[in-house]
C-alpha cells in the first residue's frame, strides 16, 4: 500500500472521482481506526489512501462514526490533540474489530467475483477494475 502525500483533487470537479457505494464508507472508517483517531484524522486518512478518488461529504464520515458507535463497533471519548485542542477520539471495540475482519473478507470476495466476471469479456475495458 503506497503512501502518498495528499494532493487533494477537488471532489466533484475531478474527472475520475467515484461516488462511494453505500455501506463501504462504514468499512473504510473502521479500517481507518487501526489506531484511535478523531474525525478529521479519519477523513484525511481515507482521502490519502484513496488518493482523493472517492467522493463524499466530510459530514458523511461523522455520520458513519456515530452510526458505528451506536452499533457498539466503536467507542468514543474526549481527548486532546498534539496541538492541545479538544477532540473526540474514536477507537475500535473488539466487536468492531471482528466486524471489520469479516466484512472486509466478504466485500473483497464479492468484488473479486464481480471483477472476474467482468474481466472475462475480452472486448470490454473496465476502468474501475484496475485497482
Amino acid at each position: 500500500m503506497a503512501r502518498q502525500s495528499a494532493n487533494d483533487p477537488k471532489p466533484g470537479t475531478n474527472a475520475y472521482a467515484l461516488p462511494v457505494v453505500k455501506g463501504t464508507l462504514d468499512l473504510l472508517t473502521l479500517k481507518a481506526l487501526w489506531t484511535p483517531m478523531h474525525g478529521f484524522e479519519v477523513t484525511a486518512w481515507i482521502e490519502q489512501q484513496s488518493e482523493g478518488r472517492l467522493q463524499f461529504d466530510d459530514s458523511a464520515i461523522y455520520q458513519a462514526l456515530y452510526r458505528l458507535e451506536k452499533k457498539g463497533l466503536l467507542s468514543a471519548e474526549w481527548g486532546v490533540t498534539a496541538n492541545n485542542r479538544r477532540a473526540r477520539y474514536y477507537r475500535l471495540t473488539p466487536k468492531g474489530r471482528e466486524h471489520l475482519t469479516t466484512e472486509t473478507e466478504r466485500l473483497l470476495r464479492y468484488s473479486e467475483t464481480v471483477a472476474a466476471i467482468l474481466r472475462s469479456a475480452p472486448t470490454m475495458q473496465v476502468e474501475g477494475a484496475r485497482s
Partner: protein
C-alpha cells in the same frame, strides 16, 4: 469558564467509569454541544490544511464548509446514538440487577423455597377459584347473543316462581312483541336400547322453536318444525353430537336412521353441533317434540310443569318483556279465575337463572381466596423484611458507593417480581391441579363447571395477580424503610430501627386478623354441615342401598306386566344373602325425585279444588316403609293383601294428617289424588312418621303412601331400597345382578347408598367447607410462622438489651414474659380486628348457612381461642430463647 471546566471534567470520564458510578446519560443539549464542537474542530483543521496547500484563508474556510456538506443529519445520527446507548446501558443494568437478585436467591435457599411456596399457594388458589368463577359467572353462555335468552316463570299464590301450564304457554306464545321466539320444554328420560346394555339417557321434550330460542341449529339434518309437534305424525328426534359419535359410531348417513328409545322407534332428523350444550339440562342428549295440545288433561293452566325459555327482540329487555307478559297473564287470570291465584311473571336471563343457586357460594369463595392471597402476600413481605435485615451490610456498601434511592427501590421491586413470577408459574401448575380437585369436590349442580380450562383470560388473570403481588411485596419493605435515614443504613449492623419493627408487627396483626376471618368462615360452615347431617331424616339411613330401575319396552304394556316385574325383582333381591329387607318406591327421598298431587279428603270437601292440600305421592311395595325404617305411629302398615283386587288403602304422614285433620284420628278417612271428582278412593289405614324428601335442609314433606298395585298408572321409574347386614356398597353388584335376572333389558342407574345421597344433599356446604378448611389451615400455619418470625427477629435484635437487663438482675422469667407479652399483644389486636371484619363480612354467607347464624358467638369464640392459643405457642419458643440468653457471652462481645 469554571463551568466549562466542570463540564470537561464530567465529559472526559470514560464511559465505563461513568456507568460504574451510575452517572446520568448525557442529555440532548450536551450531545448537540459535542457535535458542534466536533464540527468546529474539523473545519479548523481542514482550513489549516487548505491554507498550507496555498489557499487564501477566506477561500480555504469556504472550501472547508463546502466539503463538510449538510450537518443536520449528523446531529440526528448523534442523538439516535445517545438514545440507543442509554437503552443499552439500562438493559445492561437490568440484566446485572437480575443476576444480582438471582445470586442472592440462590445463596439463601430456605428463604427462596419458603417464599416460592407461599406465592405458589396464594397465586395457585386464586387462579383456580377464579377459573371457576370466570367460567360459571362471568363468561357468556355459548349461544349467539346469549344475554337475550331468558327464562320465563309464573308467580303462584305464594309469590314463589313456578313453571307454566301448557295452555298459559301457548297463550303467551301467540302474541308477544318483546319476544322473538318462545319455547317450552320438560325433562325426558328415555331408555336407549342399542348395541350394549340398555341405558337411561337424559333428553328434553321441547316445543319446535326450542333451537331457535337458543340460536343454534343442528350441524347435520334439520331442527324440529311445527309439523313434528302434531300427534299422529312420525316420531322424530334430534340428537347430540356425543350420542351420534358414541352410539351411532358417527354414521354419516344418520339422518333417517331409527333409534329405539323406551321401546318405541324414533327417526333421527338432526345432529346438534359438537360442543352444543342445552344449559337448561347440560346432560341432555336427545330432543323430541313436546306434542302437547290444549285438549289434553295435562295441558291445563294449573298443570304447571313446563319450563319456558324465550329469546328477546333486540330492542326488548328482560324488564320490558316481564311487564308485557305480566299484563297478558293478568288478562288470562280474568278470563280463567280458577286457574290463577295472584298471577305474575318473572323474566330473568338464562345465565342468571342457572347460576342463581351457586352465585353466592362462588362469590364467597372468591372473597375467601382473596383474603388468602393477602395473607400470603403479608407473609412474603415478612420474609423479605427479615431478609432485608440480613442484607443490610451489602446495601450499605451500595449506598456508600452512591447508589440512588431509586436504584435500591428498583432492586427490591425486581426481587419481588422475580419471586412473584416464579411463584406465578408454579401457581399456574397448582391451579391446574386445583381445578381438577375442585371438579371432583364440587356439587354436581354447578353449571358449566367442566367447561373450565386454562385459557387466555386465566393466564392474563394470573399475570395480573402475579405482577400486583410482585410490586406490592417488592415495594412494601422499601416503603417501610423510607423514613429510615440513609446514614442509618450504613451505620452499625445489627441495630434495627423501630419503624421497621412496627411495619412487621402490623403485618402480623393483619395476618392474624385475616386468618381469623377465614377460620370463622370454616367454623360456620362446619357447624352448618353438622346441623344438616344431624337433621333427623325420618328414616334410618344406615346400611341402605338404593338403585333406580327404569321399565320400558314391549314387555311392559299392562299393569300386570309391571306388577309381575316388581314381584320378581323383590323375590330375587330378598333371596340374596346379607339382605335384611327390600322395598320399591316411586320416589326416593334425597334423590331429586319430585312427585306431588293435590289430596282431597272425603270429610273435607272444598269448593275450590285449587285450594286442596298437596302431598307427595309414594307408590310403594309392601315392606317399603319397614325397609326404610319409617316408624308406624298408628294403625297398620301396607301388606301383601293390598293388591289391585282389594279396596284402596293408604298411609299418611303424621305432619300432613295433623295439618289437614288436626287432632282427629285419620284412620278410616278416605282420600282421592288429583281431581276431586274422579279416581278411586283410598282409605287411610295407618299413620307414619314424617320424612325429608327434597334435601336435608328442606322441611319435611307431607306424604301419602299407596300400594304400587293399587295406583291407577304404571310407574316406569321405581327405586329399589335394600337394607343390608353389613356394608351396603358391597351389595351393589349382587343386587344389580338380581335385577338383571328379573329382566336383563331394564337399565339400573343411580346406584348409591343412602349415606351418599345424604352427603350429596349437603354437597355445596361440604364443597365450601373443604376449601375454607384448606385455606384456613394454611393461613393458620402462615400466621403462626409470621408471629414466630417477628418475635424471633426481635429477640435477636434486642439481644444486647436483654443481656444488659439480665446482667442488671432481671430474672429469666420476666424476660420470657416480656417477649411473650408481645406475642399476646399482637395476636389479641389481630383477633380483635378479625372479629370486627368477620362480623362486617358475615352478610356474604347469607343463604349458605343452615341452622347457624353468620355471627354465631360459639364459632367466633372457638376460633378466637384457637388462634390465641396458636399465637401464644408461636411466641413461646422465641420467649424461651430470650430467657436463655447468656449475658456474659454477649456483653463480652459488645
Amino acid at each position: 469558564m469554571r463551568r466549562s471546566i466542570r463540564r470537561r471534567a464530567r465529559d472526559t470520564i470514560r464511559p465505563g467509569v461513568r456507568r460504574l458510578f451510575r452517572l446520568p446519560i448525557r442529555r440532548k443539549d450536551l450531545c448537540e454541544q459535542d457535535v458542534r464542537e466536533e464540527i468546529r474542530l474539523h473545519l479548523e483543521l481542514r482550513t489549516e490544511q487548505l491554507i498550507a496547500q496555498g489557499m487564501a484563508r477566506a477561500a480555504a474556510r469556504a472550501e472547508a464548509e463546502r466539503r463538510m456538506g449538510d450537518t443536520r443529519s449528523m446531529r440526528h445520527e448523534a442523538l439516535a446514538r445517545e438514545r440507543r446507548l442509554s437503552w443499552c446501558e439500562q438493559l445492561g443494568d437490568l440484566g446485572r440487577e437480575l443476576q444480582w437478585c438471582l445470586r442472592g436467591l440462590r445463596r439463601s435457599p430456605l428463604f427462596t423455597v419458603t417464599a416460592l411456596l407461599t406465592l405458589t399457594l396464594g397465586i395457585g388458589a386464586t387462579t383456580a377459584i377464579f377459573s371457576v368463577v370466570d367460567r360459571v359467572l362471568l363468561s357468556p353462555l355459548p349461544y349467539p347473543d346469549p344475554e337475550r335468552v331468558v327464562t320465563i316463570r309464573e308467580h303462584n299464590g305464594e309469590g314463589r316462581p313456578s313453571n307454566l301450564g301448557f295452555a298459559t304457554f301457548s297463550d303467551l306464545a301467540a302474541d308477544s312483541s318483546t319476544l322473538a321466539s318462545i319455547a317450552a320444554y320438560r325433562p325426558w328420560v328415555p331408555t336407549l336400547v342399542g348395541d350394549g346394555d340398555p341405558r337411561l339417557i337424559r333428553g328434553q321434550r321441547v316445543s319446535p322453536s326450542f333451537f331457535d330460542v337458543l340460536g343454534v341449529q343442528p350441524a347435520i339434518g334439520r331442527g324440529l318444525v311445527a309439523a313434528d309437534d302434531q300427534s299422529g305424525t312420525e316420531r322424530v328426534v334430534v340428537i347430540s353430537d356425543g350420542l351420534w359419535r358414541r352410539d351411532l359410531h358417527g354414521d354419516p348417513d344418520v339422518i333417517g336412521r331409527t333409534l329405539t328409545l323406551s321401546g318405541a322407534a324414533w327417526t333421527v332428523v338432526g345432529v346438534m353441533p359438537r360442543g352444543f350444550v342445552s344449559l337448561s339440562d347440560p346432560t341432555a342428549e336427545a330432543w323430541r317434540p313436546l306434542r302437547y295440545d290444549v285438549s289434553q288433561a295435562w295441558a291445563c293452566r294449573a298443570c304447571r310443569h313446563l319450563s319456558v325459555l324465550g329469546r328477546l327482540n333486540p330492542e326488548a329487555t328482560a324488564t320490558s318483556a316481564a311487564s308485557e307478559l305480566d299484563a297478558q297473564i293478568k288478562d288470562l287470570a280474568t278470563a280463567f279465575p280458577s286457574a290463577y291465584v295472584d298471577p305474575g311473571v318473572e323474566v330473568v336471563t338464562l345465565h342468571r337463572q342457572i347460576t342463581r343457586a351457586v352465585r353466592p357460594a362462588l362469590l364467597l369463595l372468591m372473597g375467601a381466596v382473596v383474603v388468602f392471597l393477602l395473607i400470603a402476600c403479608a407473609n412474603l413481605t415478612h420474609l423479605l423484611l427479615a431478609r432485608g435485615g440480613a442484607r443490610r451490610g451489602e446495601l450499605s456498601v451500595r449506598v456508600a458507593l452512591g447508589a440512588s434511592r431509586w436504584r435500591l427501590v428498583r432492586l427490591h421491586v425486581i426481587e419481588g417480581l422475580l419471586l412473584a413470577f416464579g411463584g406465578g408459574v408454579l401457581g399456574l401448575g397448582l391451579a391446574i391441579i386445583g381445578r381438577r380437585i375442585m371438579l371432583a369436590l364440587a356439587p354436581p349442580d354447578v353449571p358449566r363447571l367442566h367447561e373450565t380450562q386454562l385459557d387466555g383470560t386465566l393466564l392474563l388473570f394470573a399475570l395480573a395477580v402475579t405482577t400486583a403481588v410482585g410490586l406490592t411485596t417488592g415495594l412494601l419493605p422499601v416503603l417501610g424503610r423510607w423514613r429510615v435515614p440513609w446514614k442509618g443504613l450504613a451505620g452499625a449492623g445489627r441495630r434495627v430501627t423501630a419503624t421497621r419493627r412496627s411495619v412487621r408487627a402490623t403485618l402480623v396483626v393483619a395476618e392474624v386478623a385475616l386468618t381469623l376471618v377465614l377460620l370463622i368462615g370454616a367454623g360456620l360452615l362446619l357447624r352448618s354441615l353438622g346441623k344438616q347431617v344431624q337433621e333427623p331424616l325420618g328414616f334410618a339411613p344406615d346400611r341402605l342401598l338404593t338403585q333406580l330401575i327404569s321399565l320400558s319396552g314391549p314387555g311392559f304394556r299392562t299393569s300386570e306386566d309391571f306388577h309381575t316385574f316388581y314381584g320378581r325383582v323383590l323375590d330375587e333381591v330378598n333371596a340374596l344373602p346379607g339382605i335384611v329387607a327390600a322395598g320399591l318406591t316411586s320416589q326416593l327421598p334425597l334423590s331429586e325425585d319430585h312427585d306431588g298431587y293435590s289430596i282431597h279428603f272425603e270429610s273435607r270437601p272444598s269448593d275450590n279444588p285449587e285450594e286442596a292440600p298437596g302431598a307427595r305421592r309414594y307408590a310403594v311395595s309392601p315392606g317399603y316403609v319397614e325397609t326404610m325404617g319409617i316408624p308406624l305411629l298408628r294403625g297398620r302398615s301396607l301388606d301383601e293383601r293390598d293388591d289391585a283386587d282389594h279396596p284402596g288403602v293408604a298411609l299418611i304422614s303424621a305432619g300432613f294428617a295433623r295439618a289437614v285433620l288436626g287432632e282427629q284420628n285419620p284412620i278410616g278417612e278416605r282420600i282421592r289424588l288429583g281431581g276431586h271428582d274422579d279416581g278411586p278412593w283410598y282409605t287411610i289405614v295407618g299413620v307414619v312418621g314424617d320424612t325429608k324428601q327434597d334435601s336435608l335442609t328442606a322441611d319435611v314433606a307431607p306424604a301419602v303412601y299407596l300400594p304400587l298395585e293399587q295406583w291407577k298408572f304404571n310407574d316406569n321409574l321405581v327405586s329399589l331400597v335394600v337394607r343390608t347386614h353389613s356394608d351396603p356398597q358391597a351389595q351393589a353388584r349382587p343386587v344389580r345382578d338380581a335385577i338383571r335376572r328379573a329382566d336383563p333389558d331394564q337399565p339400573v342407574t343411580r346406584i348409591a347408598t343412602m349415606h351418599e345421597l345424604t352427603l350429596r344433599s349437603a354437597a355445596l356446604t361440604r364443597f365450601l367447607l373443604r376449601l375454607f378448611q384448606a385455606f384456613g389451615s394454611i393461613a393458620l400455619v402462615l400466621a403462626s410462622i409470621g408471629i414466630f418470625g417477628v418475635l424471633a427477629g426481635t429477640v435477636v435484635e434486642r439481644r444486647d438489651e436483654l443481656a444488659v437487663r439480665l446482667a442488671l438482675g432481671a430474672r429469666p422469667e420476666s424476660i420470657r414474659s416480656l417477649v411473650l407479652r408481645q406475642a399476646v399483644l399482637l395476636t389479641s389486636i389481630g383477633i380483635g380486628l378479625g372479629l370486627v371484619g368477620a362480623v362486617a363480612l358475615s352478610r356474604l354467607t347469607e343463604g349458605l348457612l343452615y341452622g347457624v347464624v353468620p355471627t354465631d358467638p360459639a364459632t367466633y369464640a372457638a376460633v378466637a381461642i384457637l388462634l390465641f392459643g396458636v399465637g401464644t405457642v408461636a411466641g413461646w419458643i422465641p420467649a424461651r430463647r430470650a430467657a436463655g440468653t447468656d449475658p456474659v457471652a454477649i456483653l463480652r462481645r459488645m
